[in-house]
Symmetry: D3
Subunit: 205 residues, 6 copies
Amino acid sequence: MIVMTVFAHPDDMEVHCGGTVRKLSSAGHRVIEVIMSKGNNGGDEEVREREAIEGAKCLGVDRVEFLNHEDGRISVDPESIDAVRALISKFEPDVVFTHSPNDTHQDHRRTFRIVTSAVSKFPEVTVLMGEGPSTVGFQPVVYVDVTDVLEKKLEAVRVHRSQVERGAISEEMVMKTAEFRGMEIGVKYAEAFEAFRISGSLLLG
Amino acid sequence: MIVMTVFAHPDDMEVHCGGTVRKLSSAGHRVIEVIMSKGNNGGDEEVREREAIEGAKCLGVDRVEFLNHEDGRISVDPESIDAVRALISKFEPDVVFTHSPNDTHQDHRRTFRIVTSAVSKFPEVTVLMGEGPSTVGFQPVVYVDVTDVLEKKLEAVRVHRSQVERGAISEEMVMKTAEFRGMEIGVKYAEAFEAFRISGSLLLG
Amino acid sequence: MIVMTVFAHPDDMEVHCGGTVRKLSSAGHRVIEVIMSKGNNGGDEEVREREAIEGAKCLGVDRVEFLNHEDGRISVDPESIDAVRALISKFEPDVVFTHSPNDTHQDHRRTFRIVTSAVSKFPEVTVLMGEGPSTVGFQPVVYVDVTDVLEKKLEAVRVHRSQVERGAISEEMVMKTAEFRGMEIGVKYAEAFEAFRISGSLLLG
Amino acid sequence: MIVMTVFAHPDDMEVHCGGTVRKLSSAGHRVIEVIMSKGNNGGDEEVREREAIEGAKCLGVDRVEFLNHEDGRISVDPESIDAVRALISKFEPDVVFTHSPNDTHQDHRRTFRIVTSAVSKFPEVTVLMGEGPSTVGFQPVVYVDVTDVLEKKLEAVRVHRSQVERGAISEEMVMKTAEFRGMEIGVKYAEAFEAFRISGSLLLG
Amino acid sequence: MIVMTVFAHPDDMEVHCGGTVRKLSSAGHRVIEVIMSKGNNGGDEEVREREAIEGAKCLGVDRVEFLNHEDGRISVDPESIDAVRALISKFEPDVVFTHSPNDTHQDHRRTFRIVTSAVSKFPEVTVLMGEGPSTVGFQPVVYVDVTDVLEKKLEAVRVHRSQVERGAISEEMVMKTAEFRGMEIGVKYAEAFEAFRISGSLLLG
Amino acid sequence: MIVMTVFAHPDDMEVHCGGTVRKLSSAGHRVIEVIMSKGNNGGDEEVREREAIEGAKCLGVDRVEFLNHEDGRISVDPESIDAVRALISKFEPDVVFTHSPNDTHQDHRRTFRIVTSAVSKFPEVTVLMGEGPSTVGFQPVVYVDVTDVLEKKLEAVRVHRSQVERGAISEEMVMKTAEFRGMEIGVKYAEAFEAFRISGSLLLG
């Protein structure tokens, strides 16, 4: 299986689906991480790029692609859509993880729009949307047990020192979310996802 | 994988997910079909029971369980929930297929309610809801390519002669739905499903 | 302020809004607890009645009213609505806490229906809906910080020994929910509520 | 009756409501077609303009207005709203057909926003939203039997050779959608629409 | 045009769509009024029957059919659906007016369910849902200007003396709703409706 | 209590929540009014600024802050969010009133987005959304009785002479909305609000 993550900022993948990514990479699946913006509003771009690469390594990501949008100004336009579409065309992912459309951060909502536009020509691709500190009214349907990899997820989150220090993300937030979603399906820790579209061949074999 | 279908009447499984069931049984998965009512409002119960068994055979169903609710009066009460829960407990399905809550037939809506109540103690079970002639406002997220098995699905639908003759169901309706859902994902024929809850281990391995 | 809780079974109030109730009773507000059914499906009625009374005492509830519906068969009919309406008329609550309509338990959904029907003649009454193990798709808008009273809530939950022992409820579930909702508003523990209608004079003084 | 269609690109009117337009023009109603962008991302503008004019002729459109937005960059701003509002003011349509807000193409969503903003001063105008290849979660309420004019609709779609050749639209997609929507209301072919607002005098005479 | 109204109680038609009914009957259309229950919870059945007949006369209704459900206990079952279906089959209405599914009165919600089930075999029938004192979260799309007939609607409401006296309905409530809905479309008084399904031939000729 | 209103144009606060603001200021609460744009599309900026200041005085607003966005082009970007966040940080409001996301005016939708983004770091702040002439599908949960202050609200609306004269707002529209919302809760005049998030300590003390 080829997995692609398309999130707005350097630490979003870790927070929204780090456990699932680690689980998939450990099982031998290839993971491509796309980062829309280096997150200059939340810190120094070079620092954040290094943290992203370190976080990716921690979770077994195969490759990180930076799309260089300006932080806070990701725009839903032909170029931004074409750039993501080109990556989907190149790497042929089976699953794409991205943001929920119900999110108070404009870059997150717009990244979702860009992804769903980009996949319009690839109807066999499964698209799942993750949960983070700015999602609101999140209505998950897919639950992934991440008990075995939670420690790795936390490690990957900690790697984003610049964001942990300014309080944008925290281990505590990640833990409590994982415990709550885990409780909903009777496991210790889980990550939950909304679904835009799911391929039956992926789900049912 | 163990698959369970819980639909209201003898022909509902064939119409809502017959292709997917055939695909799963052909791949070696065990399918248990639960039928809430023998459908006495739509014909003779004995005839309909025979048609159900013939339809099940046609699709590779392993076992058919009749729950003997009165047609049109399926009731969401402790007995009806316990009966479905007992079957889930006994057969331990990975996936349950049932009706959509958005359906103009009271038995369909109530079967959905019974199923979601019955699975409340089995959070690892994936629950998907299918599309039929009385669903309204259907919002599918899971698409199954049934191109290879469409002919078998049609055959299983034809088996319900008593319903085809009175116009309750038709090959044409099944075909047009399969073509439309297929078009949405770029294949010839598909079945589409709403999702109540999806197990990540099923979806992502 | 007069507060009324209307939940289906003896342990529901404790789980859905026990912290908020304790907070309100401690602040000198009068709390009336209405219990629709003694919960005979989940244990012995006498035992459950005693547990309910003990739980109520633990949270500072002023009075417990039992409406004696049969467990699993609460019915939305003129008598059930009139019974709740009579209590609202008698005690004149400012706020009523009840179940969410999005709940897989039929008694919970129906209790919500009965309450919203009963309050139709009392438009000044605020109606809030709580979160429990069978709510689904919960979309809270009101958050109550219950950090100071969480221990008391847990104590009230523990009082329902018959339910804790059979695994219907657990401290762990209550804790994890309280932590997650707390995290959403930046406090240690919170209870969250959906809102049917909120009186401006209550909210804004 | 005066009918106005406001779609993003040169082929959208034909795909989303070509049958209905043909039916209305044949019945003697005047149809004004507004095209927001000449669709430079999908081909040569001059070619697409010619195709649009040919498609319009095929369906009996009285007049085509081009608004010259850049493809993929339609913007919801005072100028774009004023331009549509001016056309509504000038032609005084009874019905406006436009895109659904639930669409993965940004130009489609934004055209919907522009139209609903533009009609805010014309509350007597009926606004209906059509279905195309990029609509998602479409929830139609209005169904138009287009059996008699389906051939003309297909002809109008074929006219957009540049788009058919690059696979952006196809007769097959149009046919399957028409068959599915037709099936839903018991006719051979239909077009379906969501409704933003419907004038009672139009519906009930 | 043949119009059918299917409401739960003797005064519901007048309140929910009395203006529209008067307008249609005045224009020469035939109106059949179906009343599910004689409303024994709200007064004497004989009195209410007389008031219903008087109200119907006032609005130009051609015929009143009583279905004799018990007030507060309308049940969604084969008999109740068949009874409404038989009337639809007999009178062949083009439009059916009924309750909104979003209503705090159980009889209203269930009447909506019965109607949408009954029309499932008549996909050409337009179904609209009206607004009354117990509707909640009403989301109208169809607006009918009732300025010319508002006085007649008020007269028909007043006819239900037993209900006006006990405060179940009032001219004031009807007036304020008509003014608000009128304001939304720029006329003096209007009635507004949600739509389940609208026939294109009715809307567009 | 500190109250902040954040609306797009100089007359929006008066129309959407003028009664509530007056009530709060009269009760001794401090009200800060933030105006995103001076509304140059609807008149002369200097005139509109004067009207805003006069309207604010009429309702007891303590302070008016102008953010100088261009009318019709309010943009959801880091600067616009930071500007509102800085004001929230400075004035520490308990409640923020803003636009509903369901509004046909782009500036209104975007102001809602900016506000919900700005408050993301202030989870204790209650956010309510008001109703005006361009809101659609409004689903209020909070109702404020403004009977005592309606005359003051109308006076504050009249102050916006430039807008009343061009028909953008009117006393009649304000009156009819207040009467309708009042009717829903059994008082003479009310203002109604949707809720994004409500602090339990505000609601329940």
